[in-house]
């Protein structure tokens, strides 16, 4: 049985990737299992300089999901290169460096630095809903997506994944723009913007008022978007949005994902990633599938 997948020339042991922002730099989850068991880790979103993030409250549960507004708290790209890469390199899982900037220059500078460091793939986060400058402002306009991808592409000497925002009217437009700009792969979806209000105090629960929604409740939206983007571009897709079980992962692969990311489920169950890998394997066994790649885009639409 083959679980290996290839994303833009980088081979992953299996299609399960820990999603950025839910997994830190892997240290906490390494207390639970050997990180070599998963295909890759997309690390906490990195910025050029260290960043404090948003004031609390930063998280709340909603029906079948969560809202968060961490606001990219991170130690900065230099500290990541110095402190975190050597730790992650003890494991076989591939390293995806997730970059978040406020300007084109931020992304270019980080792409250049990270390409010279020991990472496997770059993921350009132009869809963070929780920061004022950059973030989703870049990711929702197809022309800007094209321009930023084209510009950053010149500085990226590693395969470049562009992470797409679902907060658009037609995701195939931004997907095609990223492809035209030279992206090597796409990851989708980032969180859907949402809000929750405490009716007792009449105040928003999140200090940032609006946050990003994730978890099982967003899964149908995410599956639909992966399906549409798979039809609209030739790029490898990393699908995510509420994946909690092996069957959820298979669903994303049938819709057109070459690999999948697991985010919110890590909070529910720290062992979610290896369990989802086992679940994919169980599905393959049950349906006599030799190669996990044979599932990609195989949804039957009569």
């Amino acid at each position: 049985m083959n679980l290996k997948v290839n994303i833009a020339g980088i081979e992953l042991e299996n299609p399960v990737i820990a999603a950025s922002g839910t997994f830190g730099f892997g240290r906490e989850y390494a207390e639970f299992y050997d990180l070599s068991e998963i295909g890759a880790i997309s690390v906490k979103g990195l910025t050029k300089a260290p960043r404090a993030g948003n004031p609390p409250t930063r998280i709340t549960e909603t029906y079948g999901g969560i809202l968060n507004s961490v606001g990219l708290q991170n130690p900065g790209v230099d500290a990541f290169i110095k402190e975190e890469i050597p730790f992650l390199r003890q494991y076989r899982c591939k390293i995806i460096a997730n970059m978040a900037g406020s300007t084109f220059e931020d992304y270019c500078e980080m792409a250049e630095k990270l390409s010279d460091a020991d990472v496997d793939l770059l993921e350009m986060n132009i869809s963070c809903p929780n920061v004022k400058a950059g973030g989703a402002a870049f990711g929702t306009n197809p022309d800007t997506v094209y321009e930023i991808t084209k510009t950053v592409r010149k500085y990226a000497k590693r395969p470049l994944i562009v992470k797409l925002s679902p907060n658009v009217s037609d995701i195939t437009e931004t997907a095609k723009a990223a492809e035209a700009g030279g992206a090597d792969a796409l990851s989708l979806i980032n969180t859907l913007t949402g809000m929750a209000i405490d009716v007792k105090t009449r105040r928003p629960i999140l200090a940032n008022v609006i946050g990003g929604m994730s978890g099982p409740c967003v899964k149908p939206v995410a599956v639909r978007m992966v399906y549409q983007v798979h039809k609209a571009t030739k790029l490898p897709i990393i699908g995510m949005g509420g994946i909690t079980t092996g069957d959820d992962a298979v669903e994303f692969m049938l819709a057109g994902s070459h690999a999948i990311m697991v985010g919110t489920a890590n909070f529910t169950d720290p062992y979610a990633c290896p369990k989802i890998r086992d679940g994919i394997q169980a599905y393959m066994k049950q349906y006599n599938i030799e190669d996990v790649n044979d599932l990609v885009g195989k949804v039957i639409v009569d």
Partner: protein, 255 residues
């Protein structure tokens, strides 16, 4: 510290005051590892519908039995109340109170509302302690007997004066301070109360540890959602309540 998930047998769930539930669970490993001030990160109900665990402080440990007490507030705690067989628990989690009777010979323990409960196991581990408990009203006064046994001095207050001293627990502690000369204050309670305790500790120059509560995600320090503000700048401005806390030195944090 290495983390673990435990499947714990529920021995009892009992309403000890209106909407206040005392749960007793059995798990040897968890009981052996638990320290005062640490918490349990508990799966409540159906995880697809409720993806976040709920953090609840450890109230007491006796042999291989742990006790925690919570207020039924929302969907999660309602679901928790109906789980009578087993519980899926990540823990024990976090940094607890500094128990150092050699250094601090005369501690004061103060708890308000549901913040009373994490203080019992701490009080039991301190050779001497004066305990100050505050509740909203008489119907919520709980664990008085347990604290009476564990502490060398006990003061119970209610906000409306329906039981014990009339007013706030902190006011009682303040009144006793000149006479008792506490050399450390341990506290847990609502933010307003903690803010007042923090200010008092600073005023009298006594070390103070406070246990904080915050809405929480992973519970292990990865997701950076349960933050509390500190006096640091840059990436260290917000510390993780689950990993750096839930117990902090009062002078470190901005409440």
């Amino acid at each position: 510290m290495s983390y673990q998930i435990h499947s714990c047998k529920v021995l009892s769930q009992k309403e000890i005051a209106p909407n206040i539930i005392e749960t007793r669970i059995q798990n040897k490993e968890l009981a052996e590892q638990a320290k005062p001030g640490q918490f349990l990160h508990i799966q409540c109900g159906d995880p697809i519908s409720m993806p976040l665990r709920r953090p609840i402080s450890i109230c007491d440990v006796q042999g291989d039995i742990l006790c925690f007490i919570y207020e039924v507030k929302g969907r999660g705690t309602k679901a928790l109340q109906s789980q009578t067989e087993t519980l899926d628990i990540l823990g024990p989690v976090g940094n607890g109170f500094t128990v150092a009777p050699q250094t601090y010979k005369n501690p004061a323990v103060i708890g308000g509302g549901i913040g009373v409960y994490p203080m019992l196991y701490l009080t039991k581990q301190l050779p001497t302690a004066s305990a100050y408990l505050g509740f909203r009203n008489k119907s919520l006064v709980t664990l008085e007997e347990e604290f009476k046994k564990a502490a060398t001095f006990l003061s119970v207050s209610t906000d409306d004066g329906s039981y014990g001293n009339n007013g706030f627990a902190l006011d009682c502690l303040k009144k006793d301070f000149a006479e008792k000369q506490f050399d450390i204050i341990y506290a847990c309670g609502p933010k307003g109360m903690l803010r007042a305790i923090q200010a008092f500790a600073k005023e009298v120059g006594v070390p103070c540890q406070i246990s904080l509560e915050e809405r929480m995600g992973c519970g292990i320090g990865a997701c950076l959602t349960c933050s509390c503000e500190t006096h640091e700048e840059g990436a260290g401005k917000y510390q993780r309540v689950c990993k750096n806390g839930p117990v902090f030195w009062a002078e470190e944090v901005v409440l």
